[in-house]
Symmetry: C2
Subunit: 196 residues, 2 copies
DNA sequence: CTCAGTTTTCAGACATTCCTGAAAGTAGAG
DNA sequence: CTCTACTTTCAGGAATGTCTGAAAACTGAG
């Protein structure tokens, strides 16, 4: 691996992580190299830095492109393809989440919905359905939340995340100010905002 | 596979998902069977329902236990071990997130910190560090947010998630309330949110 | 202690995934 | 059209991961 030690350490770790998150080691390493690269790189740069075969790089880049995780950028006067990752790390995370949602969450939701429509044939299936319903509701809650949050500008998002659960206290303030009767959906939390 | 069709469909899908999320298919299937089971099951129940070898079940359960994802529950008058998943799906998610954090996020954070402490040997390493810094900050932001959120009671959590980005609007309300001149004797959050 | 019922371990068969070199494909320049 | 520089595809060997049966280890009862 033809990289300065600091870079190599990162690339190796990132490859390892990749393999725990459903992409193979090499793909993770390719991404890592692109992520920390100063400029756009071509396939042969990756061959050189990672010490893997040209065809492996080609397959890896193809996979990363299918995830929308790398961008192909033309370089004037050069016929080769050059690749980069976005500068904005928040946009990277958004892409990653959206792709995983599309590939894993959405199919899971439709499977769950389908199974929940079926008429249970016995007690065992009936009980299974009640569990699947819980799971379905939870995933819907999380994805709806994310879909909503995703639209925020990065600055607002950071502000929101920094607050963490303090938001819950603001909720209480809100409750007191507007004295909204009842909660949303499921189950109203203890009717009066008890707090001192 | 000795399961009613509805259950089998779920178990197969869940196994498939597991294999995309870093646990092998069988482990995912074992978990799925336990998740929808009406009662605690012993290893042989799993052998029967999944049609896999006893030793495979043993290894799978061992792995699930190392993730704290299944509980071993004694059954009176039976020497065998019986396993369940928690009834509360929110606690399941909390466990899952905590375990992944421990195994993947935390080591990544320490690697990043370590690399950021080094003195860059050249421009390439220096640029890499600035990228790693971005990544480190983002992960810290997310984990701090989660650590905070995790402590909320489930009902409050649901309430919060249901609001989604509407919270951002409440933030604006808050900004207006606390921005009132003369009204800042109280506990304004440390940083004054600028950048409207 | 022994025994029977149970769980765990582990070598190696089996299966899947990954990686490579060779060959085929593609596209701009001349 | 041909040449050249580059990219992609793909068969099959290498590496890794998974699963099993047999044997060992454990554990409570007698």
């Amino acid at each position: 691996m033809n990289l300065p030690p600091l870079c190599e350490a990162f690339v190796l770790h990132f490859g390892e992580m990749g393999s725990r998150w459903g992409v193979n080691r090499t793909v993770g390493q390719i991404y890592a190299v692109l992520f920390i690269a100063e400029t756009a790189l071509c396939a042969d740069d990756l061959v050189d830095r990672l010490g893997i075969s040209r065809s492996n790089v080609s397959m890896g880049l193809k996979e990363l492109q299918s995830w929308n995780l790398v961008r192909q950028r033309p370089v004037a006067g050069d016929r080769r393809d050059f690749f980069t990752t976005p500068d904005d790390i928040y946009s990277i995370v958004r892409t990653l989440v959206n792709e995983r949602k599309k590939r894993e969450i959405d199919p899971t939701l439709s499977m769950l919905r389908e199974l929940l429509m079926q008429t249970p044939a016995n007690a065992q299936e009936e009980h299974a359905q009640s569990r699947l319903k819980d799971m379905h509701e939870l995933i819907e809650l999380l994805t709806a939340w994310y879909a909503d949050i995703e639209k925020l500008e990065t600055d607002r998002l950071i502000q929101l995340l920094s607050l963490g659960s303090k938001v819950a206290r603001i909720l209480e303030v809100k409750d007191r100010i507007f004295a909204l009767p009842g909660g949303k959906g499921r189950q109203t939390p203890s009717s009066t905002p008890n707090r001192g």
